[in-house]
Each structure stands twice: as C-alpha cells, then as structure tokens.
Amino acid sequence: MLRSVSGYHLDDNIAARLSVLSPKEFLILDAIVGRIVAGDGDGPKNSVETALFVDRYLGNLDPALQKDLRALLHLVEHASGPWRFSFSRFTHMSDAHKDAVLYDWQVSRLVFRRRCFQALRSLAFLAYYREPTTWIELGYTGPVLPRPPLGNR
C-alpha cells in the first residue's frame, strides 16, 4: 500500500515505522540522504534504512532540534527550485539537479544554507557509516573491544 499525502507517496510499511517525521518529511529526507551518501551508480541500496535511522535518531533529540530539522526539510523541498531558476520540488528533481542544488547549499554565501547543509550531511553520514556493512569498503576493522552487553548499559 502507498500512502499519498498531496502527491507524496510513502509505502505504508515504512510510514508505520516513522517516529518523528511525517510521510512527506520522510520522503524529502530520503531524497536528500540518498544523494549525500550516493555511490557511483544510482542511490545507495539502503537509503530508506539510512533515512529511517535519521528519523529514529531525531526521536531522541531535544524537541527544539527536531523542530529545526523538520522546518529545514520543508525548506529544501520548496525553496531549492527557485534558487536554480526552476520551480520543481526537490523530491521531483533528477539526481543531477538534486546534486547541483545540494552543492549550492554547501557553498552558499548564505550562512543559514551552509549550516543546514552541514547538519543534514553529518546526520546522513552518521546514519550511513554506523552500519558495519559499510566498514568493509573502508577497510575499517571496527571496535577492538567487544560491545558491552545490553543489560549492563
């Protein structure tokens, strides 16, 4: 089943797993995260899981930080088009166009855009590189010491 909110379609199974974001916000996040951690070909295979982690992660943060990030997602979605003299929403853009928009945010002279981009970038990398499956490619051997048992934490 797909959940449709004014043109935003999200699989019900995924929507049911959201903790903080609305389906629309999640789709925007997924579009951004997908490009930030994209490999040589298309997006990464697990960009949905990566974005789901960001949603869960936000659940543990201060409500003020959550609010900032949600507002930011709407801004990327609706204020990225005019910046590049096109009026399409971020989620509807081609990958190349999305990358160009993100690059604009990264090098923007507008303080706010640069800061927002950095926040999204750090969250996306945290979500992506937390996965031991990504470590193999890096040659990272992981923690030397075993993880403390859950009951002790």
């Binding site: 040589d40 930080l65 640069r114 950095q118 990398f125 470590w135 040659g139 990272y140 993880r147 403390p148």
Partner: protein, 490 residues
C-alpha cells in the same frame, strides 16, 4: 556516603539547602565540588546531562554522540562555520576528551591578570598532575598516524614533542572521543566526582540550572529544571557550565552587566583537518589517538602569523566522513581510502573574539568570525600541515574547502581558495566569556555580585594555544581555595 542521583524521575519539586551549589560537573565543576566537599562544605553539584557509567560507552558513534555531546553534536556557530563539540553529562567534556595534558605557556599566562600567572598556578598544576596521574605517553604507544607526524617533524627539522596524558589502564582502543570502555581515563568522572561524593557532596544529574537567584546583589541559590520538577538549591553559587554554558546561564539570569561584557571574549581554538593519503595502511583508529605535537608554527607573539598547534586527529567512520569535504560519489571514493589516510589538525591560537547570547528557546547563539590576522594564521597552518603530510610520504593531500582541494605537491597559494566561511572548522576548546579581569575580579568572583564564583574555561582572558583541561582543573582548584576561604571550613 551520599549517592549520585538523577533528577529524571523526580515527581515533585525539591528544595535543598547547602553551603555551595556548583553548576556543571566537568573539569572545573568537579574540581570545585571535590575541593569544597573535602574542606567540609555541604556541596550540591547540578549537572544538566545524564549520569554516565563505563558500561554505557559502546564504541558506537550513533549511540555515543547523542548521549555525550551538547545538542547531539550539532552545536555550531550561527554561521555554521565552526562545529563546537562539548560534553553534556557527569564529567562534562573530560569524558570524551583525548586526555592530553599540557600547562599553559608562560608567555600566555604572563598577560593574564595578577594572581593567575605561572607562579600562582604552579602549585595547583603540580597537585592536579599528581592526582590525575599525568605523565608522558610512552613512545611505544605512538600509533602510525602520530608516528607519521613525528617522522615529518624530524625530517623537516621542525619543533615537536611527545605529549603527556592522564590515562591509567588504557588498552589503546582508540575510542577516547566516544568515552572510554575500560575506564582508563583519570578524569572528572572517574577521579573527582567519586571523591566529592565520598566527602559528602550531593551530585544531581539530569537537572539543568535555569537561573541563578539574586537578592540585593548577592547570589542566594539556583533554580533548576528536571523533567517533571523544579529543584531549588539555596546556597552561594559557583558557575562551571563551560565557556558556553556558564555565559548562557549568566545571561538568562540577568546579572547586572552595564558594559555588556558577559558572553564576550569567546575563544575557540578552531581547527582544520588536513588529510593525507598514503600507500600503506595508517589505521589511525587503532591506539591512543593523539600522542605527538608539532609546535614549529606555534608562536605566542601576537604579531605572528604562525599561531597553530598541530596534532594528529583521527576519527571513526562517521566522524571522518564529516571531516572530509563534499558528498555523494566523490566523497564515497575518498572514504575508500579511510584506512590509508592520516589526518593532521591545525588548531588556531585565536585572537578573534566571539560572543555567546541567549536564544528564546534556551540554546546559545554563538557568533564567531575569524579576523584577518587569524585567517592568515589558519592558512599558514594548512600550508604547514600540507608540508608535513608530504614530508611524511603522503601521495596526495586533501584540504577541506567546500570545493575540495587535492594536491600532489605542497602549495604556497592556498589563499586563492580561502573564503571567510570556508574551510569548515571544528572546535573542542571553548574559552573566555566570563573572563578574569573582564567579567570576574581577580578572585574569580562575578563583579558586582557577592557569593558568586566562576571556575571553568570561561575564566580564560585569552586563548592558550594548547589543550586547556589542565589549566581549567588548576584554575578551578585555585578558585575552590578562595571559595573555602570565604565561606569558611566546617
């Protein structure tokens, strides 16, 4: 013996009476709490973050960053140009720092107000070094990332040295910046807070001081917020919430401050990370993360452009990904070289002064811009790191400008790439904001208010150009002696 308690589950408001309320339990706060309690004062120490225990340190970035860092690691200057990492929890930033211990240079302290020069801090430095077991790092424990810096320094004939640290029982897991999983750090959490507790101090975590209560120019207590209740402590107060936390609390408490000095004079030691790619594995995540320094370009002459402290600075995968510039396929390609990458950080002995203001939602607004002299010094530092990388045998060097710059030979022309908000900087040493001689008098009392002291990094009247924890511990020890003198032994 009293308990360390969390206020998280407190259901009704609580009022505590004490001889001293310490706000914050990091380097400064834990030292004051311990010293005052041992002298017999009834101490309450409030900490906004959680109680932390060794078993909680899971060596996972996604679990530790939100647990240990202010604003889940997202604290930054309002222009986003400098990420500021600070601790939040019992032990403050000492829980996840890299344990380097170095006294502030005589040249710096010589410019500090009377009473805070080298000779005045010396007995306190010596006591802290003894208690925290500070000693040089054994050369056999220098990992490859650090050994590369050492070899480059020696090859270029530059100044460098093995650093000292406060570790005991360290197994070289490399996870210092995420909390030590084997309790190998002789820090505020392990050494000072338990001693404070043994001496009778009541330590309350998950309890954020929201206002210092003033009556007729005198501090009479603290009002703090737990999840479901208000905690009021009736006592003279010592602020130790860090250079950002203390200024924020002072501003929110509307201290008399005719000249608007509170929150000014913020120094950050902003650092830029330069990566070098090598043919052989570096595996910088293994072993003690930082053990060697290059001081060739660290001058304390105010006119000099050579004002950077260079140290290796490795991070785990997510942290390293954030340090490296860019995103998408090109970034991923760079990350594939992670195991063969060395990272040197040039930390600026900054003259620029930022400010801390209070936002309406309770978070700090941090403004900080590098002045032109600091911009030159930062570029000088990047150039020095580049030379060091090539001297160490790097194939390529990557500079973290927004549009990444990759070099296959040293370049003297980095200024073409520099723009004021570029490259991205990270700061781990906030200082100033309630400085001696500016906001505080020579006894570390906030001017115009009695029974109110400051004992953390915010006291520093200038940058010190190196790791600050030893000086914060020592200064706090000195402040504690003054507090005990004023309030009397019991």
């Amino acid at each position: 013996m009293t308990e360390i308690v969390s206020a998280r589950d407190l259901k009704s408001d609580l009022t505590l009476e004490a001889d001293l309320c310490v706000v914050g339990t990091g380097a400064g706060g834990a030292m004051v709490a311990r010293q005052a309690a041992v002298a017999g004062l009834r101490v309450v120490a409030l900490e906004e973050g959680p109680t932390l225990r060794t078993e909680m340190f899971t060596q996972r970035e996604d679990e530790m960053i939100p647990l240990l860092f202010q604003e889940a690691g997202a604290r930054a200057t309002i222009d986003g140009a400098v990420t500021i990492l600070q601790g939040r929890g019992l032990g403050g930033s000492t829980v996840h720092n890299t344990n380097l211990c170095k006294r502030a240079p005589d040249d710096v302290l010589a410019r500090w107000p009377d009473g805070w020069r080298t000779r005045d801090l010396l007995p306190h430095y010596e006591a802290v070094e003894r208690e925290l077991n500070v000693k040089p790092i054994e050369t056999r424990r220098i990992n490859r990332n650090n050994a590369l810096l050492k070899s480059a320094v020696e090859k270029l004939g530059w100044r460098g040295a093995v650093l000292s640290h406060n570790r005991e029982g360290c197994v070289g897991s490399g996870f210092c910046e995420l909390g030590c999983p084997v309790d190998g750090k002789q820090n505020a959490l392990k050494v000072l807070l338990p001693a404070a507790q043994r001496a009778g101090a009541r330590i309350v975590s998950d309890c954020r001081a929201e206002a210092i209560l003033l009556e007729g120019g005198r501090a009479v207590g603290v009002r703090a917020r737990a999840t479901h209740a208000t905690v009021t402590v009736q006592a003279p107060v010592c602020l130790a919430g860090s250079a950002i936390g203390s200024a924020l609390l002072a501003l929110r408490s509307h201290f008399p401050d005719e000249k608007n000095q509170i929150g000014r004079g913020l120094h950050l030691h902003p650092g830029v990370a330069v990566a070098g790619l090598f043919d052989d594995p570096v595996e910088g995540w293994i072993g003690i993360p930082q053990s060697y320094e290059c001081t060739e370009h660290l001058s304390f002459d105010e006119e000099s452009d050579a004002r950077v402290w260079i140290v290796p600075g490795f991070a785990h995968p997510a942290g390293a990904a954030s340090l490296l510039p860019g995103f998408g396929a090109a970034h991923k390609q760079r990350m594939r070289d992670y195991s063969k990458m060395a990272i040197f950080v040039a930390m600026l002995h900054d003259q620029s002064e930022g400010t801390v203001e209070a936002s309406s939602d309770g978070r700090p607004l941090i403004r900080y811009e590098l002045n032109s002299s600091d911009q030159r010094a930062l570029l000088h530092g990047m150039q020095a790191c580049t030379r060091l990388m090539f001297a160490a045998g790097a194939r390529r060097v990557l500079l973290p400008f927004a549009t990444p710059l990759e070099l296959d030979a040293p370049s003297e022309n980095l200024q073409h790439h520099y723009r004021p908000l570029d490259p991205l900087l990270t700061a781990v040493h906030p200082m100033g904001t309630m400085a001696l001689g500016r906001v505080c008098d020579g006894e570390a009392r906030v001017r115009g208010i009695t029974h109110l002291w400051v004992a953390d990094g915010s006291l520093f009247p200038s940058s010190i150009g190196g790791p600050p924890q030893l000086t914060i511990y020592a200064a706090a020890r000195k402040v504690a002696a003054q507090i005990v003198d004023t309030l009397g032994h019991r």
